[in-house]
Symmetry: C2
Subunit: 392 residues, 2 copies
């Protein structure tokens, strides 16, 4: 008889956002007059830039006419888009050939699917706390996982600790901690990977939030990374594409494991299991790189960063330890008075009608911490900050 | 050190479409004055229905405004679309709850990714000839594969032959053979699957081409299939979405392997590795189900089917055995004069400047056969038929 992939039995059910929703719903029911403000979600709220909408509509018209209609797209993405992405890298002095760029429907898909080209015998290292997808996708494959501690001592930036791993997940700017690796820190990870013949899976989904020019926005800014790293990037946070779906993954041709080219394996994986990304969406993504499009994207990101600043300023004023809040849409704060994550969640909800995310939901080291996001409206963020001030 | 998934070494490089492209390019170079007509591609050519383009543009406008902007879509797809799909099934007396429908970016993605929820120890059965993705995705996972013969004796509809398998791929209307299972034939497969506790992976991507009402368009028209089958369906051929990307997979809640619900496992897989499908694309897909949208789709499908009829009529006239040509966009023909597939390819190209696909590229049983498609323009199809007539 057919059998299932029994590794799925080892997945922990994540009740984090479900539990939050349940608590919020109960609170709203009991307090119908209270205005609840959510700083919990990791989703953008500002509309798509005008240039992007224009491009979407133009491409839609093209698809409605016989002479401009397009069928299957190239598996790796249209050259018109990959050239813009390559140029985007070049502006930061990173050389990425268009053949090394793989356009997809989302960084989450790529981060999830990439494990397929690796042996199930590899040892995986994941920072704790962490974006849950890194862990779950490897549990599904039955790989052994070890955790690299991120905590107050290293400002929630996990560093190599002498233990060996074959695949290492790094996320910078970090979700959920908002912390960003410096070039020196990434240099250590690249050296570690080269020494251990390991591969770094680098999630750069939030790179557009980096405003400090000395911080690396791509792991390929570090020499040697082309031989040991895969980078995942996305239009979701850069251009508000969470509901529009476009991303890209970079695998340099230099990335070899013995005789195997990971680039070529990923070409084979994608051409076998993907039929390219929607033409209209690729045109929308291309429009992000026009002067007008990029200006609008930067304006939106500044809006979120200014929200983050407001939250961060309050925490500084109150002397509360936190990471993020600059170069990131996330603020990762120590709960006041040694409260546990869910305790603080309850306090915040009940006393201020503000919703955040308990840090314990992201891993053991998240206990006692709390995530706030800057994706709310300005008015709501200002109001939330004033309300939170009262309980700190 | 990190190791790769070495199963990839067992993949055969598919040179089929590359070899075709090379031969065609050489021919064009040597014969710059000849007009080459391709009946080789499996890609639609008619533009998107007007209603679909309208919906795309309206949704694009919504995404550009603060009060109608949408972020992350629900993992399984918006209800507005899943309700329409459920209704689409209901019209054929098939009961599919919206919770059993999973919207995705493509049937190829789903057919490829579905293997993840199955044990690598399962025995896979694949018809020969076959759409190459079924085989490659299982080779990547290291599963053992046996082939079910499709040939002239069974009119290129593989049937159970007594051998055991755990996972069975069926494609009806078939790519590349254009053959369509009857209800009685599918009944045999469903009985076989129930007896063997096997799961049928049913690719219904071409169901919209079925005009004969006695033929099943969904495996769920067969009683018991809800307990042993997963169905993959797509907007690609129904509505010309090959370059727009939207599809859906149905897993009924009745489908259990011992204590494991495949439905719940797929929920987990998709919510871990997918962030939903673009809002604008889901609105476009919804528009397919408007009266006007569906009428336009049917008109387009009739256009292709009429092309197929022209090709089929020629083969009948010449007494050449073939399958497909009705209820399918494909015509699968026996090469004349006992020619091998590539021999006939060369003859057709050199004598008539018409390009088709050698059947041997789809499997051992494809040798001596040839695939023609109906996705060309009417004028080109008429001209190609006249040219082919001269060499038959």
């Amino acid at each position: 008889m057919a059998r299932v992939n029994e590794n799925y039995s080892n997945l922990k059910q994540s009740y984090l956002f479900k539990d939050i929703a349940t608590k919020v719903a109960a609170y709203k029911k009991a307090n119908p007059d209270k205005k609840v403000i959510s700083l919990g979600i990791g989703d953008v709220t500002l509309p798509l830039p005008e240039k992007v909408v224009e491009a979407l509509k133009e491409a839609s018209d093209e698809m409605g006419k016989a002479d401009t209609f397009r069928g299957y797209a190239p598996d790796q993405g249209y050259d018109f888009l990959r050239e813009k992405i390559s140029e985007h890298y070049r502006k930061r002095n990173v050389n990425v050939d268009i053949s090394e760029i793989f356009v997809s429907d989302g960084a989450k898909s790529d981060v999830g699917n990439i494990t397929e080209i690796f042996s199930r015998d590899n040892m995986v290292m994941i920072p704790d706390p962490v974006y849950p997808v890194y862990m779950d996708t490897n549990v599904m494959d039955g790989r052994k996982i070890i955790f690299a501690d991120a905590n107050k001592e290293n400002n929630f930036l996990a560093m190599p600790d002498g233990r060996h791993a074959d695949m290492i997940y790094l996320c910078s700017p970090n979700n959920p901690c908002g912390s960003v690796y410096s070039k020196e820190q990434l240099r250590k990870w690249v050296d570690y990977a080269l020494d251990n013949k390991a591969v770094i899976l680098f999630d750069a989904a939030y790179e557009a939030f980096i405003t400090n020019d000395t911080l690396p926005r791509s792991i390929f800014e570090i020499e040697g990374a082309e031989k040991c790293a895969i980078e995942f990037c996305s239009f979701s946070k850069l251009a508000g594409f969470t509901g529009t779906r476009c991303a890209y993954t970079v695998i340099k041709k230099d990335l070899m494991l013995e005789r195997f080219s990971l680039h070529d394996m990923w070409v084979r994986r994608q051409s076998t299991k993907l039929n390219g990304v929607s033409y209209v969406i690729q045109r929308a993504a291309e429009a992000v790189f026009t002067d007008e499009g990029m200006e609008q994207c930067k304006k939106n990101i500044k809006y979120y960063l200014d929200n983050a600043k407001l939250i961060s300023a309050l925490l500084k004023e109150k002397g509360i330890y936190h990471t993020g809040g600059t170069n990131s849409p996330y603020i990762w704060m120590n709960c006041p008075s040694n409260m546990k994550s869910w305790e603080f969640f309850d306090l915040l909800l009940n006393k201020t009608s503000v919703v955040g995310t308990p840090g314990s939901g992201f891993g053991m080291n998240g206990e006692g911490y709390f995530r706030l996001t800057s994706f709310g409206s300005r008015d709501n963020t200002i109001e939330a900050v004033e309300r939170i001030r009262r309980v700190l």
